[in-house]
């Protein structure tokens, strides 16, 4: 697999080079060299101890190059994707099929700000892409390097200083076809000073063929910028996602990321924040609802690089069947990052004998005037609460579901759009089996 990916890169390097600047090509090549040297991470890597990629690597994936002729046997139409949209919010829409931008399904803009595809930005917006692309990912692991080398398309957003997006952006990545497919998607989001954007992102397989999307996102937030990013992971049982998102925040910027994982084969989320200037605040919320043989893995890392920054993290997990959960929360408070406020909480319910969660808070604090707290819990449903509900006439199965919904509630409480929140609640309700008894979510 490694060799095929490398071959695919070297075969097309001239295409990549022709369509982007020398600097970008250089970064790609270095990334591919590192990937070739390191190969896919194995469970011997500390970061991948509980998430074994073997089960993804055994598939015989088709590798699409962005430079191949389009081979969409069955073109995807709007009706095919409609149900995956948050339809009642007016949005910009950027749609990708098997890693390729689909212009006929998208609604992009260039008036006042750019919401489009990275594929069209390499050359056209080279002066914006060059100073950013690969900057936050250089030091990261082999999967990210693979993406840097091979990824071509993904969401591109650039918002100039002081501009507030008039509506949210939906970024939708679909996979389709009968063959197993391995995709690289890459997004670049650049928010100027006091700019604001809201992003709803979804990776979705349209088939039951095996798929693996390896996504990398870089987000640059100027002073006072605000961003709200909702990642909705409700995919087919055949679909895997490995995603590494890095957010770089300048003074007084404010970022919120919700990662709501309700279905998928393997979901590995890496979410990193670099709080580079005073007053920056990062908030992250996560929810994993796993069953069957699903694996849901959250690795988060916050670097407090400057004084007076705040990070707030609350992840919840419910694990049933033979599912596995992983939570690793790193907080690094660097020297001089005085007056840091860092809160981290990870609560888990394990609902069956065979489900498991490995949770690990990891705090490294090199400043002395900081407030950091962390906590993680692993437990079962509260018997007292269950009895309380049953004594009010609510059947056991439904009482359990209600308690699970209540447990999960925190993770979506902060989502602003009522219709998006309602959609997430519906997905959560569906997963937890409460949709059929009158409990209004």
């Amino acid at each position: 697999m490694k060799d095929r990916l490398a071959a695919s890169y070297w075969l097309h390097e001239n295409h990549f080079a022709a369509a982007s600047s020398a600097l970008v090509t250089d970064r790609r090549r270095k990334a591919m060299e590192r990937f070739e040297a390191e190969g896919f991470p194995t469970v011997r890597h500390e970061d991948w101890k509980y998430t074994n990629l073997k089960r993804l690597l055994k598939e015989d994936y088709a590798l699409h190059s962005p430079f191949d002729a389009s081979d969409d046997a069955e073109p995807i139409e709007f009706k095919d994707i409609k149900r995956f949209l948050v339809n009642d919010i007016d949005c910009y829409r950027v749609v990708f099929i098997n890693g390729r931008y689909s212009s006929w399904l998208s609604e992009t803009t260039h008036s006042g700000f750019d919401v489009c595809t990275l594929g069209s930005a390499w050359k056209k917006y080279a002066h914006h892409v060059e100073p950013h692309f690969g900057h936050l990912t250089e030091e990261l692991g082999a999967l990210v390097q693979l993406n840097t080398a091979l990824a071509w398309d993904g969401l591109y957003v650039r918002v100039p200083n002081g501009v507030i997006l008039d509506k949210p952006i939906q970024a939708l990545y679909f996979t389709t076809g009968d063959q197993p497919i391995f995709n690289q998607t890459r997004s670049l989001i650049i928010l100027g000073e006091n700019a604001q954007a809201e992003i709803i992102e979804r990776h979705q397989s349209l088939t039951t063929a095996q798929s693996w999307t390896n996504a990398v996102d870089e987000v640059f937030m100027g002073a006072g910028a605000r961003m709200h990013w909702v990642k909705l992971q409700h995919d087919e049982a055949s679909a895997a996602l490995t995603q590494h998102s890095v957010v770089h925040q300048k003074r007084d910027s404010y970022a919120t990321v919700h990662t709501i994982s309700t279905d998928g084969k393997v979901l590995r989320n890496n979410l990193d924040f670099k709080l580079a200037e005073p007053g920056a605040e990062a908030r992250m919320f996560g929810l994993s609802l796993a069953d069957g043989k699903q694996l849901m893995d959250h690795h988060t890392r916050v670097d407090h690089l400057a004084p007076h920054c705040t990070s707030h993290e609350n992840y919840k997990g419910l694990f049933d069947g033979e599912s596995n959960g992983v939570f690793n929360g790193q907080i690094h408070v660097h020297v001089d990052a005085q007056k840091t406020l860092a809160f981290q909480q990870n609560d888990n319910l394990v609902l069956s004998e065979k489900a498991a969660i490995d949770t690990k808070p990891q705090l490294e604090i090199f400043a002395d005037d900081v407030k950091c707290s962390h906590g993680c819990t692993v437990g079962q449903l509260d018997d007292d609460a269950l009895f309380y509900l049953r004594a009010r006439g609510i059947k056991e199965k439904e009482a359990r579901a209600l308690l699970m919904v209540a447990f999960a509630h925190d993770a979506v409480a902060d989502i602003q759009h009522p219709s998006l929140q309602a959609k997430l609640n519906r997905l959560i309700g569906k997963k937890l089996g409460v949709e059929n008894f009158g409990f209004a979510l």
Binding site: D382, D383, D384, A385, F387, Y388, L389, R390, A391, R392, G393, I394, K395, E396, E398, A399, L402, L403, V405, A406, F407, A408, H409, D410, A413, F437, G438, F439, A440
Partner: protein, 249 residues
Amino acid sequence: MIEIVNLHASVDGQAILKGINLTMGAGEVHAIMGPNGSGKSTLSNVIAGREDYEITEGDILFNGESILELAPEERAHLGLFLSFQYPVEIPGVSVSNFIKTALNEMRKARGEEPLDASSMLKKMREKMDLLEMDKGFLSRSLNEGFSGGEKKRNEIFQMAMLEPKLAILDETDSGLDIDALRIVANGVNALRSPENAFMVITHYQRLLDYIVPDYVHVLYKGKIVKSGDKSLALELEERGYDWIKKEQA
């Protein structure tokens, strides 16, 4: 309405109830009093169907039928209600949503149609007025951050909504100031009817000034050792439990 016959119950092999006999008819209010550790809360939990207790002997008949084999929810559907001594906090579930769910589950179990939204709201308003509750209450998370008094009032609110045949009030007076006590008692009194019955479990006679019982029973070491009318409660208030303990010794 309910007949408790020679009821023995134990938890983790330790006998707590050691032969309770108690019969309550419709329209009656019975007070169960007794010192700490006498088995009052165990009795209420066993009647409501808590599974942590093992019934080693005896029976509980509700309208003539044994309910020992029934799940807590099935007992609730028959019209049993327990007002909890320590109501559980459930963040993420609003009071209104909870009550709506509970009430409609009850109706479903009885083969009735769910109550439509406007009737539900009307009913909630009516019962909230009765208990002098603030409207904002409905949207709060169930018991989360409630004061002791609010939790108890919420229990009585649920009772008012669910209209049980037999309500067991487990130390509903504890943690209530005198105004809250009066409001809760007024609520209970307004719900009294010839068709329902109340079992009021309390340490103190105070509550019984407001909810006047027909019978008072003293529970001690897992048995009812004395029964009488409301004057027994007054006597206990005056003399404490020591004379009962001495009598039993």
